[in-house]
Amino acid sequence: MNRVKRQLAPYLLILPGSLWLLLFFVVPMFTMLSLSLQEGDVVNGYRFTFHWQTYVDAMEDYRTQLIRSLIYGLIATVVLIVLAFPAAYWIAFYGGRRKSTYLFLLLLPFFVSFVLRTISWKQILADQGPVLSPLRDAGLVPDAFHLLGSPAAVIGGLVYNFLPFMVLPIYVALERIDPRVVEAARDLYANPALAFRKVVFPLALPGVFAGVLMTFVPTTADYVNSEVLGGPETTMIGQVIQKQYLVNSDYPTASALSFVLIAVLLIGVFAYARALGTEDVMKVAAR
């Protein structure tokens, strides 16, 4: 009796939570897949017809936005690695007893709503804002120069909003490195650059991988930054999907686009994992 109880215990514990995840995360993926293959509209209802044409049409209409999103996501991710690595490195190796204070400072902006932070950037980058108006008054930029609406503003917003998601995993990986390993490399006559390249960087790779996963996926699918900071030339796929769902109520097209986005992101992530070539990387990232 007691043995049975012990074996049942984990299942009873996970039951309510797993049921919730099943009903509201797994099942919706299938309703979305099914809806993407249906024909009809909101008024007359939908019929399931294996209507693959929706995918073909959606790709024809919105290929530009999809490719643009991938490019923006890729650029933002690369910029994030470059910006985050030195900061994570300094906190991990020089933070001393104040490491957690520094991490806290990095996370501090997150107590302000994502939307509010992005709108605040819009105010800063506006034509009459504190960045552009002094530059224009000094004659350093032409009158027709705008920051808002440019790809740089959108990518800058993405980088700003997702920086901690890159710093934290790299920090965790670097923090685990035993400083003596680096010393050993130096004792074996590696110069600092070589020690970094051959010892520190490889050990930090799992962190970089986790960071890429945490930033490439959400930046590519983001629509808040491009909506607030971008213009007609910077429309991303997330904006299209959002509009098709919530404004046009074209659920089949929106669902098809969502699935194309998921597929592309999954392929990208797995190709990246393959390219790094280690299963450890996957394991560390999955933890």
């Binding site: 299942y11 309510p16 509201f24 995360f25 993926m29 990095l106 992005t118 605040s120 700003y160 901690p164």
Partner: protein
């Protein structure tokens, strides 16, 4: 400013003296890291500052002098106040429910080996790493297919869904490091498994549960994307800001943002200090 930039260095020297000599570039890197932190704070400082701006109309764009009056006139926009209260209510319910459900999963995953745990881990990993847009959109298709009207209930359902995995991850991390001998000692002294859990295990994992609940609260109150898909005609605080930003955001939004920021930061500092004290006592 330069003083604050250089201050951390001696601390680093004291705690890890050798690597400092070996790994060069610490000075420049510290300046760089502080610049990054300053950059992260820029929009926050702008938001706080413009909560004190003596602006005339609803367009709060140019600095027109210092005032405290918006703090006194916080409730001038009833829809804004209602949106904030709705956000708070949803965040409380979501934090409590996802705290309970997530603790169950986290405890089971940290303590037991059982069939299906890999699948559960995989689903949790997917919820954490899949884009919010996809989670919100797919939930909308579910509600549309079932003909369920969207509103506060569906927002709460969605928030609980994406918070469970975070709570479970935090709790699991603590449960894995639990010293089993303490529980065995309780059992040896005649405690039933039930008593052992509530008198021994739960108090130990309580700080982790508490951080999980706080995290769930923060995720919920800040959420925009998933909420946008599951809210219907209702507006939470971020949704109100989004909808009104075209017409200009009144300074009350800055004040509310500042208050949430201050309360959140103070809460985090208190938990951080308490956690450090706890770990010092334990270590």
């Amino acid at each position: 400013m330069t003083q604050t930039l250089q201050r951390p260095m001696p601390v680093a020297e004291r705690s890890v003296p050798k690597p400092r000599r070996r790994i060069t570039g610490g000075g420049l890197l510290s300046v760089y890291t502080w610049l990054i932190m300053a950059w992260l704070m820029v929009p926050i400082l702008v938001m706080i500052a413009f909560g004190f701006n003596d602006t005339k109309g609803r367009f709060n764009q140019r600095w027109q002098g210092f005032t405290f009056k918006w703090y006194g006139r916080l409730n001038e926009y009833p829809e804004l106040t209602r949106a904030l209260l709705l956000s708070l209510g949803i965040a409380v319910v979501s934090a409590i429910v996802s705290g309970a459900l997530g603790t169950g999963i986290g405890y089971a995953l940290g303590r037991y080996r059982f069939k299906g745990s890999n699948t559960l881990n995989g689903i949790m990993f997917s919820t954490i790493s899949s884009p919010e847009l996809i989670m919100g959109a797919s939930l909308l298709t579910l509600f549309v297919s079932l003909n369920v009207g969207t509103g506060p209930a569906t927002i709460t359902i969605a928030h609980i869904m994406f918070s469970i995995s975070f709570v479970a991850t935090v709790v699991r991390a603590r449960v894995i490091t639990l010293d089993k001998s303490i529980e065995e000692a309780a059992a040896d002294l005649g405690a039933t498994p039930w008593t052992t859990f509530w008198k021994v295990t739960f108090p130990i994992i309580l700080p982790a549960v508490f951080s999980g609940v706080l995290l769930a609260f923060a995720l919920s109150i800040d959420d925009f994307v998933v909420t946008n898909f599951t809210a219907g005609t209702y507006e939470t605080f971020p949704l109100w800001i989004w909808g009104s930003s075209r017409m200009g955001l009144p300074p009350q939004v800055n004040v509310m943002g500042t208050l949430i920021f201050a309360i959140g930061a103070v809460f985090a500092i208190i938990t951080g200090i308490r956690g450090r004290r706890g770990s010092r006592r334990a270590g």
